[in-house]
Every structure is written in C-alpha cells, then in structure tokens.
C-alpha cells in the first residue's frame, strides 16, 4: 500500500532523527522515507549534523574546569552575596522563626517601612492567612509598636520601648567590639506574639541578624543549639524566658562567640 505523504509531518521526521518515535510510528516513517529520497537526504543531513555537534562539542565536557567554576569557589561567592537584600533578610528571619517554632508576618521599622509576609506554619490557605492576620493585628495594633513604626528613632533610644513591647527584658546588643553595627530594626508578628529583628552589618559587608521574642515555654537548661541552613550558621537559646536566635554567613566560630557574648550581656540585665 502506498503511504500518503500528507499523513507524515515534519514533527515525525524530527522525532525519527531524535529517536523518540514509538516503534510502530518509526516503521511507518522508515517506509515513507524509502519512498521519498529527497526527504531521506534531508533527514540524513539532520542526522549527520546532530552526530557532528554531539561528537565535536563533547571535547568541552572533557576540559578541566577553571577554578572560578568549581563549587567551592561558587559557594564562597554565594556567601558573600547572601544577607545582601531585604528578601534574604526576610528568609533568614523566617528561618529563625522556624527555629523557635512559630508562624509569622513582618512589619519593618526604620528605613524601608515595608510590610511583607514571611509565613512559616503547618497551616495552609485561608487558615494560615487568618492566623497570620490575627497575629499581625495583635502585634501591630499594640500602641507601643505602632508608635515605633512611625518613628525613625535611633536604635539606642528604642531599648525601653522594645522592652515594653516585647513584654520582656531586652537591650539591643552592642556588637561594635565584634565589628558589627545596627542597620535596622524590624517587628515580626508571630502567632506567639511580637518578635524583634535586629539587623547588623560590618564594614566588610558581612550581615548578622538577631531575632528576639518572649517565650511561652521555659528553657530546658542552658543549652544553645547550633544549626547550619542555606549557607548561614545559626545559634538559638532561651534566657530568662526570652528566646534569642542569631544568624550569619560568616565563620560559625565567630558567630558562636558573638552569641555567647549576647547571652552574657542579656543575663546581666
């Protein structure tokens, strides 16, 4: 039986060359090509160019990688870039909240004034939205926090207000000896009440983030937990009913030292 050429499309011919036709269809195309030498020459050319492209470009696969394309170098580059944007800071804050086991929405204080969700909860959909809205309302309708969000107060003047709004003793840690100064302070609304996020920067571009909130569970000993997530290190502990968590992409030993210093300073309040 003579095959009707109109039953064959270019798509069939490409699939034939690329070896992705079903066996039945493959046989039909083979029979068609046997009867159509011009099309056979055409796809023989396609096949030849595919083979040449693959074999010739295979040289590149064998080339040694230049140092700047090794994973070690790339991850170091990524660490330098991390903590460099508000979105990243939000993600880190969300990570710290996960460490404290809460869901949250945020409201930024200081330069940005941006309100942006950073949810982390087992609840989803409308339930999550309702819980987040409730948490946000509970926090941002608090007159102390509302006043702080409107103000552009210097960090050192907000200790007392922070203390009052958090409902817990808290003093913004002075990390100047470690080379970090406060960039901005934000409020995070969690389902466990307000949390303060203090973002620090160093002159060489490193970022450090501290999240603090009042805990509704007692500390189980004096334990400080350590985690390494998404290229940054994190230390979390509870002290006098207040939960602290610090994160930075810098050296873990340095961050651990800073965390110990913060804990010692807060104990002396």
């Amino acid at each position: 039986m003579k095959l009707k050429s109109q039953t064959i499309t270019d798509d069939d011919l490409h699939a034939f060359v690329d070896g992705v036709l079903a066996p039945d269809r493959h046989r039909i195309i083979e029979a068609y090509l046997a009867q159509h030498p011009a099309q056979q020459r055409r796809i023989a050319g396609w096949q030849a160019q595919s083979d040449e492209l693959r074999s010739t470009l295979s040289c590149i696969i064998e080339e040694p990688l230049p140092p700047e394309l090794t994973l070690t170098h790339l991850l170091a580059t990524q660490r330098r870039r991390s903590f460099s944007g508000l979105g990243q800071q939000l993600r880190v804050a969300a990570g710290l909240l996960l460490a404290l086991g809460v869901g949250a929405t945020t409201g930024w204080l200081g330069r940005s004034g941006i309100n942006s969700p950073a949810t982390s909860s087992n609840d989803t959909g409308v339930t999550a939205l309702r819980l987040e809205t409730n948490a946000a309302y509970q926090v941002f309708s608090n007159p102390s926090i509302s006043t702080m969000m409107k103000s552009r107060s210097a960090p050192e003047t907000t200790d007392h207000t922070l203390w009052r709004a958090l409902g817990a003793k808290f003093k913004i840690p002075d990390l100047t000896p470690a080379g970090f100064s406060v960039d901005r302070i934000a409020w995070v609304a969690t389902t466990h009440g307000p949390a303060a996020v203090v973002m620090y920067g160093s002159t060489d571009g490193q970022r450090l983030l501290l999240l603090v909130r009042k805990m509704d569970v007692p500390a189980s000993g004096d334990h400080m937990s350590e985690a390494h997530v998404n290229g940054h290190s994190q230390f979390t502990w509870i002290s006098h009913g207040v939960g602290f968590s610090v994160a930075s992409a810098g050296a873990a030993t340095t961050l651990h030292h800073i965390a110990n210093q913060i804990r010692a300073d807060e104990r002396s309040l």
């Binding site: 055409r42 396609w46 492209l53 693959r54 010739t56 470009l57 040289c59 590149i60 790339l74 990524q78």
Partner: protein, 168 residues
C-alpha cells in the same frame, strides 16, 4: 545525589551550551559563572533532582538574554572565517576543523533556532522540556528546530555562507 551535587555535575554541560550560544570561551565561562551564582542563591528545598537540570539551563539562558539586553556579552560566533575564535580546544585536529565548520554553521542560525537545536540535539532535552524552558508552545519549538536543521543542512551543503558580522 542532592540538588547542589546535581548542579555541580552539570557544569561541563552548561559550559558546552554556553559555548554553543556565545562562541567565545571566556564569555561562555563568565556566563556559566553568573548563572551558577544566580542558581545557588535561588535554590530551595522544593527543587527535585528531576527539575534541577532544566531549571539550571533556564537560569543560564535567562541570564544570557538579560546580559544580551545589557550588551554585556556580544555574541562572537563568527566575524571572519580566518579569525573566528574556536569555542573548543580539541586535542584532535580533525575535531578542531570540524568545530570550525560547525561554528560557522551555527553562526548562520538565529539565536532562537540555535538554542533549540543545542538543547535538543546536544543536551538531550525533550521537545516538551524545551518548550517549558523557553516558555513557548511545543509547536514553536518544532518549527524553530525545522528551520535550524534545514538552514544548517544548507550551510553544510554549501548553499549558504555566514554573513561577516556578529549574529546578534
């Protein structure tokens, strides 16, 4: 193998694809570097091993397009048959000559044709995967593939020669 290990294993293939797009070894490696840094910054736990590969190629391609718009990289596939940079340092002379011909042939293709041809023929993606990566219908992938293959056939048969200018 986790997602980062998958990306690491893909780096040679990404260099090959970038070389096919750009022609220049240095520009291609710069592009791969920038795309990898972008990808590592965007990688999240939702990425499965199966979708990391097309996702990574999409990131490289998007980076290429955005660099083109900013004129960071000029496509340098062929300016002259005698001075064209060889995108491959092949140890085998025959392969080197073959690459010169292919480089000249690829330069006759429009970018949209070249990327489809490379992704399907060399990198082995399916038509549907390429359609998703380029955000175009499968039918458009097939028509670009047809034009690319026929044009390259014409070049290899000596019916067309590259124009002596940068292709983009």
């Amino acid at each position: 193998m986790n997602a980062i290990a998958t990306i690491e294993a893909m780096i040679p293939a990404l260099r090959r694809y970038a070389r096919g797009l750009l022609g220049s070894v240095q520009d291609a490696d710069d592009l791969v570097h920038d795309a990898l840094v972008d990808a590592l910054g965007k990688l999240n736990p939702k990425h499965t091993l199966n979708d990391v590969q097309p996702w990574m190629f999409t990131i490289l391609r998007n980076r290429f397009i955005s660099d083109q718009r900013r004129a960071k990289h000029r496509v340098n596939v062929v300016l002259d048959e005698n001075t064209a940079e060889m995108p491959v340092n092949c140890p085998n002379q025959d392969q080197g000559l073959q690459m010169r011909d292919l480089s000249l042939g690829l330069a006759t293709l429009q970018l949209e044709q070249r990327e489809v041809l490379l992704l399907i023929t060399v990198e082995g993606f399916t038509y549907a995967e390429v359609a998703k990566m380029l955000d175009i219908p499968v039918g458009t992938v097939m028509s670009r593939l047809s034009r690319a293959r026929d044009r390259l056939n014409d070049f290899m048969d000596g019916k067309t020669r590259p124009r002596l200018r940068s292709v983009l």
